[in-house]
Symmetry: D2
Subunit: 284 residues, 4 copies
Amino acid sequence: YGKNTIKFLRLHKEGKKHFVKEVEVCAHLRLTSPQEYLEGNNSLVIPTDTIKNIVLVLAKKNGIPSLEQFAIDICNHFMTTFCQVAYVKAYVQEVPWQRLHEGGVPHIHSFICVPDGIRFCEAEQCRNGPLIVFAGIKDLKLMKTTQSGFEGFYKNEHTTLPERHDRILCGELFCKWSYGECKDFDFDCIWKKIRECILEAFAGPPDCGEYSPSYQKTVNCIQMLVLSRVSQVQVIEVVLNNTFYNVVDMKNLGLTNDKEVLVPVEAPYGSCACTLGRKKFFEA
Amino acid sequence: YGKNTIKFLRLHKEGKKHFVKEVEVCAHLRLTSPQEYLEGNNSLVIPTDTIKNIVLVLAKKNGIPSLEQFAIDICNHFMTTFCQVAYVKAYVQEVPWQRLHEGGVPHIHSFICVPDGIRFCEAEQCRNGPLIVFAGIKDLKLMKTTQSGFEGFYKNEHTTLPERHDRILCGELFCKWSYGECKDFDFDCIWKKIRECILEAFAGPPDCGEYSPSYQKTVNCIQMLVLSRVSQVQVIEVVLNNTFYNVVDMKNLGLTNDKEVLVPVEAPYGSCACTLGRKKFFEA
Amino acid sequence: YGKNTIKFLRLHKEGKKHFVKEVEVCAHLRLTSPQEYLEGNNSLVIPTDTIKNIVLVLAKKNGIPSLEQFAIDICNHFMTTFCQVAYVKAYVQEVPWQRLHEGGVPHIHSFICVPDGIRFCEAEQCRNGPLIVFAGIKDLKLMKTTQSGFEGFYKNEHTTLPERHDRILCGELFCKWSYGECKDFDFDCIWKKIRECILEAFAGPPDCGEYSPSYQKTVNCIQMLVLSRVSQVQVIEVVLNNTFYNVVDMKNLGLTNDKEVLVPVEAPYGSCACTLGRKKFFEA
Amino acid sequence: YGKNTIKFLRLHKEGKKHFVKEVEVCAHLRLTSPQEYLEGNNSLVIPTDTIKNIVLVLAKKNGIPSLEQFAIDICNHFMTTFCQVAYVKAYVQEVPWQRLHEGGVPHIHSFICVPDGIRFCEAEQCRNGPLIVFAGIKDLKLMKTTQSGFEGFYKNEHTTLPERHDRILCGELFCKWSYGECKDFDFDCIWKKIRECILEAFAGPPDCGEYSPSYQKTVNCIQMLVLSRVSQVQVIEVVLNNTFYNVVDMKNLGLTNDKEVLVPVEAPYGSCACTLGRKKFFEA
């Protein structure tokens, strides 16, 4: 089992207009024989340096039409070229460069980095097995300042948490889904649609929001909305790393703090995760 | 000399619409006597815990009309309340929460974190001295994929860098400026205007850009544009942490790479900085 | 599925001598019913805050005799107390405080943080299943400046790496092993013994070292030595994150560099991993 | 003003025994003319790439006898070679590789990274000015579990902190000192001596410790001890980034917690700093 990480930029021009993709690629390989480990026999080993060259050559020849297509290209190349490869996985993650706009006008060759959620994908294949494609978003930080509570939970002698019906809901979202059989999907379009579903399910209607009784239920709402709206998604995993905020008690300071000043609670730091498929329910 | 850092959220409602500011505040104090250090006499020491309480109380009472006004409020409070304070500095930095939009409609209580440059400010004062206000932006990552070169530099026997007239210009920008006498400035409006100047000076006109002969010259262009457009700015400092990209040599792999695939060069990692004022030129 | 992280310090005195353990505990729980996710019904949910209280109460009552025993205590508590818990995992990691010595004399209450490899452990249990204990070390950075090469690897048209018989071997080691049925093991003693095995297998005899034909073979040597010396270990996983160093080519600068000056190669960044058990060979 | 950072390894053999220094070097240059900024005239600019080559060539030719000597060599080279350089500063920081020992026997070519405080130095010079050498230690984490309190501090209506006479004293230390005129100092030996002074002043006698009435007083004790024991030190700056620990209140949980279980307080995060010289007192 070996993996390695390569970071590079792919430029491309249409007339005078420039397009840029900066990606980090991580390729994992497993060989059919463990002889490199057991015997120190390197004759089947594909060096990290060679893997880097292959990824760069593929980027040069094919470009990066979409992250997913590039990951598929990498898998296909390794499976086709090297009979000693038993398993390959290609992870591709994007640096979120966006075209600069000046007064509403797009700039032909200038870009700004806007990391409001990072797009990534994965393609993996075992020899003689199907090619499976995953896509996802990570480091997406969201907050609702109301319409969130946590009540009716299990209580015993170790319980000190009060029930709350108007707290802050804030967290960092990780979301990863798998596609079924891939037949010429428009991966860019689907990804944008799913991102919108996530935001909508998290926030609720713009004029009033929607009450969240727990982080867990919000996770489930996101999954249900994506599965209902995007037919290409087979299974969806969501992890929400919570940031809790406490209303500062200002009684000692002679003030009433009506949820105006809050401090983040560093520990305990919580996280909830759930994986949901079309037919079967997996809770991991 | 002591400082401390506090992170908190300030919520505020207008009807059903929520507004949120999450800030990190760092207060530095220097006392008139070093007796706490030399003698272990704590009688003048203002504990970290008290400083935290004061910052939170000010946020509760005054809100955070702008980062700059909040920093000014903190300085004023410490100078007015504690005669043992010889110097105070308040640094305030914002977590870049932006209102969520769904299909163009702003959401009344949901926010997304968009860190495309972080806004900060500083107010500082010595006893009997003027209050000075600084503002700035940091962690702003920008890239130009053309219209940048580096030629005609000094050469000797240690020079191996080739001249280039079409390279990538990419870096992380830090920009900090001071205001003169503050008379009811609209700090939010000025900050946005300066951010636009920075982007414009970096990128040049949207349809063709503007050639940059060096990182240094681009730094100077940013400073000149801000000083010419924004009269309230007295002195402006710009630091550009460069990321270099090398075109991958693919000759050994039998391919011609016409600035299509590039890799970031981790080391040497460079940086250039300059401070420019209205009358006098300081190069630090 | 939910987890949370708590960091705390446990002090303990024997006469005037102080003992300190600072740990980070992460508890994962899975409940028997997904109703919290699907229906927003919180009646079985054990809040993060309650989990934190339980961990702190256990630390207060039992102390932390060893990381492993503390992880076992946490698992036992949750399984015994909450019938709605289907699965529990407790991860415990230590902040590497070491007693200060002055002129060889140990200090009774002062400590220094020495992060030369971080100790951690994990205990996990499914309802009606056995309790399984893992232990490990991570962030252990090691280097051999000779007795390492990489030759005889697979070559094709994408190969540019030269063969090397005297390179630097440097990397960050992660090592995790499982114990069989735990009957009053001295976990501290076993952990120290395994750490010594790792260092010995990595470095070879002090006077001459031992030639490593690849990162992979070194990984295997570590596993074999641990399995042969420490009978309590059932399965051992090793991951070696490699740092490559290149000898700087100084021909252009008129100098011969005989492996005297080397620079780290940031990308590609490689990693090799292997899991080895007593009877069966798993390569993951 | 420009700077850049280079990381490299310097190997050196004595017979079969290997010696390794891995350093990060940051060179700052300021030129006599700002024409590169103002006019985009690069004719005096020394490219980052050339600076890197010079640093590597110096390491190859001179080795790294000590961090300080290497920093001095860099300054001398730039001042002597380039008449357009008005100011040069060389910062050198060490990766803390230590020789591995097996059963007490030192290994001839294997090393382990032990980051219990990072050694660094700085040499700087203005044209026609003296060469000044600084050295220091950073990221040194220390803890005292008793013999520390904080009492008698200033109180007003915003005070909520109780007085404490038996708290934890824990922090990350940064310490930097300057040497006077450098005449063949044994920099390695002096550095080790100062590190011992720091530990001794922080901890007090091994059998009983010494009471610290505040972080500030501990900072001062460190400075006083170094100045009294090490005559080569002219000025010494100490910054102590405090980590506060709170005894967990377990009354609600029916338990008495006699300073046995404590949690770190993430915010407010404090820091105190002081600079002390031989004759004059500076408090920055």
